[in-house]
């Protein structure tokens, strides 16, 4: 298997291109994804290879994009739609929640909706309150939708392949700040099963379950804490629906301590779900410190860059939380 360093953004494009070369049912649609290459340039060059039939520019209507994708999926295609910013998923929500998520169930399996909704999430680009949110918990709440949050170029390629192959609608969250990160990525196609967490770093003193960009912040914190003799295990669930409970529970059983970190607003965030899973599990009896959650502050993401950083967990916050949690080791 030949690997080379490519960016997260390139890995997303490569996953789509590989799949489109193999499977004529796969096509992509979205706003300005043609010659312009999409808001972040993910699809740049694809219209040249696959033509405007399979790389379709759409009107500025997320509801229409989602509706068209669902309709084509029901009639046998495997569409990948792109929303410029995940904040606009609210407009596509009726289609996704009341159609995409329900159809297969309501028709007793006679219809299926094999589609992927790709969309960049998160703050850090100075895009302010309406273009910086992390709303994955909303989608995770809906039975019938799968929710993926890749954190590395390697993961994003394998997970996107799995999402395209899945016969259910998958919400595929890409993080804006991760687009430029690089990783060793195999040239050929490969698949990372949905619902399989990855232990990004092994440790014995505390488990940090982190998603998306927070995986990287947690790893940075872990390196710092290693100097203090604190051994941190970083678990990346990679998909929050389905959630790999087993890996998380086993990790907590091993370390006896849990910190959950995500960028989304802590209140009502998916971290609460992860904490509950652990509290209800056999890992409960192994907990030797109160569980901590780190999440975004309950404020709209500020435009001011200093405040924008302060609104979400940063490396020093994670370090402090770990120190507090392992204090009575």
């Amino acid at each position: 298997m030949t690997t080379r360093q490519i960016t997260y953004l390139e890995a997303v494009r490569e996953a789509m291109s590989l799949e489109m070369r193999e499977n004529n049912d796969v096509f992509i649609l979205g706003e300005d994804i043609g010659v312009y290459g999409g808001a972040f340039g993910v699809t740049r060059g694809m219209i040249e290879e696959f033509g405007p039939e399979r790389v379709r520019n759409t009107p500025i209507s997320e509801a229409a994009i989602a509706g068209a994708a669902i309709g084509s999926a029901l009639t046998g295609m495997r569409p990948i739609l792109e929303l410029q910013f995940s904040d606009f998923i609210t407009i596509a929500m009726d289609q996704m929640v009341n159609q995409a998520a329900k159809t297969r169930y309501m028709f007793g399996g006679k219809g299926k909706v094999p589609m992927v909704l790709r969309t960049p999430a998160g703050s850090g680009t100075g895009a302010a309150a309406q273009h910086s949110q992390s709303l994955e918990a909303w989608m995770a709440h809906i039975p019938g939708l799968k929710v993926v949050q890749p954190s590395t170029a390697y993961d994003v390629k394998g997970l996107l392949k799995a999402a395209i192959d899945d016969d259910n609608p998958v919400i595929f969250y890409e993080h804006k700040l991760l687009y430029r990160t690089t990783d060793d990525v195999p040239e050929e196609s490969y698949k990372i099963e949905l619902g399989k967490a990855d232990i990004k770093r092994e440790g014995t003193d505390v488990t940090i379950v982190a998603t998306a960009i927070m995986v990287h912040k947690a790893l940075e914190a872990a390196s710092e804490l290693e100097k203090e003799g604190i051994s941190v295990e970083v678990v990346d669930p990679r998909t929050i629906v389905p959630l790999d409970k087993e890996t998380i529970i086993n990790s907590v059983k091993k370390t006896g301590r849990l910190i959950v970190v995500h960028e989304a607003v802590q209140r009502g965030g998916f971290g609460g779900e992860i904490v509950s899973v652990v509290a209800e599990s056999e890992a409960f009896d192994y907990l030797d410190a109160p569980i901590k959650r780190l999440g975004g502050k309950a404020v709209p993401i500020p435009y001011n860059p200093t405040l924008e950083k302060a609104a979400i967990p940063q490396v020093p916050d994670i370090i402090e939380a770990v120190r507090e949690t392992v204090k009575n080791k």
Binding site: G256, F284, D285, Y286, L287, D288, A289, P290, K327, N328, K329
Partner: protein, 447 residues
């Protein structure tokens, strides 16, 4: 919130109270109206009832402690309520500087999580992991020192406890507490509770043999002067050493008093159900004499002489292991029947230790009657802050010269001790003479 228990002020002169006993241990539940502790004031033993219900959270003072009135001596509240480690001072105070400092300190202590045993009555704090290990090893978390915030027991604490293999006997917190105060080694006590858990009664019965050993000590016994004995000792010494006592004696012919008593006995008995005594008549006579000689009805307060407007007579009553002086108020306005009722009432209450606080204070002159014994005269010690006391001897038929003739008459000696700081010999003698005249001609009482 925990409610204060404080030393009550039972009389105007009461400055301190001595704790005689606690009826409850820390951790026991208390109902409103239940006796909580017993105190001795300068005049009385009294059981103090609980004003609040809940759990006795804290006792700041032990038996025999002398505590200023209004000092907080404990707390009643709900299990788990926080109370200060030492008495925070007087009840109702806004707080002295010192107190405020203390409060700040304890607040800081709350902010900085402390490692300590589980607080009385609280469930132990422990992490799930610590609980699991304790459970599998049949360990009680209450006995494990927690190293976490607020004494939270962590996994490592349980493991350390296991490794130390300290076989701490199982006991209830109450039993543990009593064992500590009684200095009973818990490991030597056999528990009668569930799974051999040591309960209160086990410790109490284990503490008994120790007292038995004490009884076998040499014949000369010593016992601590406690409670009333101590109060009497202090007050008598204080009076004897501060007031220069002068005692005047005078023989009184009691023929007419005897006639009077004989005549009134059936009348008063019919009216009140009580038999009028010589003491009752004496009280009446003393009242009349004090009206005419108010200089005897005084107190010394610092460098002032307080002239009392009321005439309240204290009656010395012998009680078990001591002496009480209950008070009959305003004797001048009362008839003999009423005085008889009052005297019988306070006498009975004194002997049963049931005097009301109001029956213990305010006397301005005391009568001490030893007439039932073979005593003719004595030198009574003044019951301060009064300035005089009347000692009464027995009535005995004696030969006396009447108009040059030797006659046998019932005679009684009165001994008047007075505080020479407050009054001099002449007015005291005048008072005693007046009293003698009244008793020898009791019809004067009708005037």
């Amino acid at each position: 919130m925990a409610k204060e228990i404080f030393m009550p002020k039972l009389s105007s002169t009461m400055a301190v109270g001595t704790l005689l006993q606690w009826f409850k241990e820390e951790g026991e539940t208390v109902e409103i109206g239940e006796p909580l502790f017993e105190i001795m004031t300068d005049k009385i033993n009294i059981e103090v009832e609980a004003y609040d219900q809940g759990v006795l959270l804290k006792k700041y003072f032990d038996v025999d402690a002398e505590v200023p009135v209004n000092q907080i001596i404990g707390y009643i509240g709900q299990a788990g309520d926080k109370v200060p480690d030492s008495s925070p001072g007087m009840t109702g105070e806004e707080g002295t500087t010192e107190e405020k400092e203390e409060a700040t300190v304890s607040e800081q202590q709350e902010l900085i999580p402390t490692a300590s045993h589980t607080q009385e009555g609280e469930k132990p704090r422990a992490t799930p992991a610590a609980r699991r290990i304790a459970r599998t090893n049949n360990l009680e978390l209450v006995f494990i020192d927690g190293s976490g915030p607020y004494g939270r027991v962590h996994k490592k604490d349980v493991i350390a406890h296991l490794e130390a293999k300290t076989s701490i006997p199982k006991a209830t917190p109450l039993a543990r507490k009593i064992a500590q105060t009684e200095k009973v080694e818990l490991s030597s006590v056999t528990g009668s509770g569930v799974n051999g858990k040591i309960v209160k009664d086990d410790v109490v019965s284990a503490a008994v043999p120790k007292e038995a050993v004490a009884l076998q000590e040499p014949a000369t016994k010593r016992r601590k002067m406690s409670g009333m004995r101590k109060v009497i000792a202090d007050r008598m010494a204080q009076s004897a050493y501060t007031a220069p006592h002068v005692t005047l004696t005078s023989e009184v012919e009691m023929t007419k008093v005897k006639e009077l008593r004989a005549a009134l006995l059936p009348v008063i008995e019919k009216q009140t159900g009580f038999r009028v005594s010589f003491t009752d008549i004496l009280v009446k006579a003393v009242g009349a004499a004090l009206v005419r000689h108010p200089q005897v009805n005084v107190s010394i307060d610092g460098d002032e002489i307080v002239q009392h407007s009321e005439i309240n007579i204290g009656l010395a009553v012998s009680v078990q292991d001591g002496l009480m002086v209950p008070v009959i108020k305003d004797v001048v306005s009362k008839g003999l029947a009423e005085l008889t009722i009052d005297a019988k009432d306070v006498g009975k209450r004194a002997r049963e230790n049931k005097l009301l606080p109001d029956q213990m204070r305010g006397s301005t002159f005391t009568v001490s009657n030893l007439g039932m014994y073979a005593v003719d005269a004595f030198t009574p010690i003044i019951n301060q802050p009064e300035s005089a006391i009347l000692g009464v001897g027995r009535i005995q038929d004696k030969p006396v010269a009447i108009n040059g003739m030797l006659e046998i008459r019932p005679m009684m000696t009165l001994s008047l001790s007075f505080d020479h700081r407050a009054l001099d010999g002449a007015p005291a003698a005048a008072f005693l003479t007046e009293l003698k005249q009244i008793l020898e001609n009791p019809f004067e009482l009708l005037v």
